[in-house]
Symmetry: C2
Subunit: 472 residues, 2 copies
């Protein structure tokens, strides 16, 4: 895709020697290691950093940052590499700090429903480690991302409709700033009115304001009862209309996912399921035994009024797990629909009253332009993704898909929505961000970036253009 | 109390003339109006601004701000004057913008569960205006505060345990910046990963980074069933222990308030109630009829295991309303315990496992120093207030109370809690803030303040010291 190469100075040999001296075999200049760290799940070609260092503590990250600060060298934090918008690409070279070895759960406080972990702990790891406490951490952005990365991109996923996103679930962060100083942004208190909300400022800042090295998150008691169900609808509109009515009634569904017909086909083929090939909703209910039954009855009634088929229940944990694994693998399932293709993912989020309209107009646009695509959505939040399969060697096809994406973003913004519900900005959405927020707000963001990172060393070239002051 | 007078230049007569010309009778230099606007519910004596202007639109606020910016004149936003830490005191003089005439509900979107209001709309007003929609806005910081003020102080109150605080419930803001430019910080989408979270940065910034002129908030469906109950306990420890167990089980209580014995006495006398004179918890349950019954049974069982008396139920709306009005009037009730006194309010919030310990140690300290006080708390969040009655003419008494407060803050911070759960920093907690966050984080806050308000015009002298860089 777009060649993102930017002129940048090579890594200073003094810096290289200093880091190699300190980190020995946790320091790599190998081409394959660098290429791996210059790649994410997005459409972009690799943009490798000059050096990869594996840090094991906040102090080590601070020490790397201090060195890079004195050598004016860019620094990019790397977790699981599962970001989707080019977040980790080293477009100005520099040092990549791999945080995957910072994988220690520092403290679990079951009585307070909190845990503090190093940034490299993944969502599956934390859930495994707290399994016996009767608690769980709900945020699940498909991939087994790290909690540091999920904080940095303000991730969410299927459970967000009930439990919120990383915005609502991070209590405090430890952050290494541009000059190597270390701050703590909060405490374990459930709420606070103590000064500027630095926690929320760093959540979603994609490594451009500081490097998150520790995360304190909220945990939740495992519900007494969980049940999941699949339900087919005659049309996208009927499925989405059901969701709108469910949300308006305040039914506390834990998950409600939309999958369109082609998505169902892809998932059936990839995950060996036999879901009815129609638009469908995937529900999960959490609560007491009676509460779950009550929610399910209410939701079935609404769905039936919108012409749905009967619910197919998955009450056994293994059936539920198979269903959600299939959902989480939708991205990979889709890729199989067109061998050799790559996927361009989109990520709009609109007020739910506009959701059906936004999805339907987007479907029409995709069909009109002959795209191979599927739409899946965290529809309880008004968030959906169009996954478009393109031939990576066909620039016309790519331009076509990007144009559909641009029109979808226009549509979402006109409906008072956002260009990204959960994937973040990275490289891919910098122009959309300007369109969404407008020049004055972008200028405020830029001034914050310039203050907290005056040398433009922290994941430079992402989220906002460093030196372009927009005319207001 | 402390004399907060700071040297400041008188208002420029040119600026005065310009504002009087534009705002005519919505512009006042009268002593009583100025004194009213230089006072909040805190312990501080009035520090009047030089001028009060009543704005009616974002454009008017922007126009005032532009003028004040060019005349280097401080600007303080004023809503209902119900802040508790000296937030609105004009310690450097300047112009107070009274936003109470910005009291228009701009749009209600019942289908999306959102409303957008001008900053001067109060929490009671919005609930009145949406009464027929089947929705409500839950955040209730006792006073009938404005939504602008509540956003600016990151307010919460009794419903926060279930519905969150202003941090979780503001979707977007319109903000007038220091130079008079206007930004929108978000959309009506329920979630977004689009750039730095400016919404959360301004929520809780107490008018020091910009002036909030419009607020988009989340609304909630009125629950099908609501019931409230009062329950007495043999001791503070037993009451708090019950709350800890309830939270750990994940019971979605809508409200759970603690009132100590002296608080019950004060409320009984002030609100003509006959609550048993023992530590008590006040519960409210929201949900379906069955859900409420189930929650109530579970909670009663836990309370009983901790030695509680039976629940006294208030199922009729008028009984419930009387109970919650009594709770909200606790502050005024308490003042009656000692005619002529004034109250110093504290506002710690700790991880819930430390709550009993924190309250008990604080009670011992208060008793040891002969204070007249009561403790009330939003205990589901780990948040409690000690209201200490002091003779405003007795400096020893005041110093004594402040020393107890200081020790309580030390205690809360040592327990990984915060010096303010919901009241904010204002003037009163600036030193506590440093203690809580440490020098590096405070320096980050200061750099943000200096960037967004380079002339130090926005509510100067609050939250952080403008020019004191702390040694790291």
């Amino acid at each position: 895709m777009t060649n993102m190469t930017a002129a940048h100075s090579p890594l200073s040999s003094d810096l290289l020697i200093a880091l190699q001296h300190q980190f020995t075999d946790r320091c790599s200049t190998s081409k394959s290691v660098r290429e791996h760290h210059g790649t994410d799940e997005s459409f972009y070609d690799a943009m490798p950093p000059d050096l990869v260092v594996y840090a094991q503590s906040t102090a080590e990250v601070a020490s790397i940052m201090q060195l890079c600060h004195s050598y004016n060298t860019p620094v990019i934090a790397y977790g699981a590499g599962s970001s989707l918008e080019g977040h980790v690409l080293a477009i100005h070279g520099g040092v990549c700090i791999d945080l995957s070895q910072m994988n220690r759960v520092i403290a679990v406080h079951p009585e307070d429903l909190t845990a503090t972990v190093q940034a490299g702990v993944t969502r599956k790891q934390i859930n495994l480690e707290i399994k016996d406490s009767g608690l769980f951490f709900p945020i699940d952005p498909g991939a087994d991302a790290t909690l540091g990365g999920m904080s940095a991109t303000r991730a969410s996923g299927t459970n967000a409709v009930r439990y919120g996103t990383m915005r609502e679930n991070v209590l405090a962060l430890t952050v290494v700033c541009a000059d190597g100083s270390v701050i703590k942004t909060g405490t374990r208190a459930k709420k606070s009115a103590a000064g500027y909300d630095l926690t929320r400022l760093f959540v979603g800042s994609e490594g451009t304001l500081g490097i998150i090295t520790e995360v304190t998150v909220k945990l939740y008691p495992l519900p007494e009862a969980i049940s999941a169900a699949v339900c087919s609808f005659p049309s996208t509109a009927a499925a989405v209309q059901s969701v709108i009515q469910i949300m308006q009634l305040g039914v506390p569904v834990a998950r409600v996912e939309f999958i369109d017909t082609s998505g169902v086909q892809a998932i059936n083929a990839y995950s060996k399921l036999a879901l009815p090939v129609q638009p469908l909703l995937l529900f999960e209910f959490h609560g007491s035994v009676n509460g779950v039954r009550e929610q399910a009855e209410l939701v079935q009634e609404i769905a039936r009024d919108n012409g749905s088929a009967d619910f197919e229940w998955a009450t056994h944990p293994e059936d539920r797990s198979r269903l959600w694994t299939a959902r989480h693998n939708a991205y990979f399932a889709l890729l199989q629909l067109r061998p050799g293709s790559r996927a361009i993912s989109t990520d709009c989020c609109v007020p739910i009253s506009h959701l059906a309209e936004c999805i339907l107009e987007t479907q029409i646009d995709c069909d009109k332009h002959g795209l191979i695509y599927t739409i899946i959505g965290h529809v309880g939040d008004g968030n959906f993704h169009v996954l478009m399969l393109v031939d990576p060697n066909n620039p016309t096809e790519i331009a076509n898909a990007e144009a559909v994406n641009q029109r979808m973003v226009n549509r979402a913004i006109a409906m008072d929505g956002t260009c990204t519900g959960e994937h973040g900005v990275g490289l891919h959405k910098m122009e959309f961000l300007i369109q969404e927020h407008g020049a004055p707000a972008i200028n405020v963001m830029r001034s914050i970036k310039q203050t907290l990172d005056p040398k433009n060393l922290l994941n430079p070239g992402k989220i906002i253009h460093w030196d372009v002051v927009l005319e207001e």
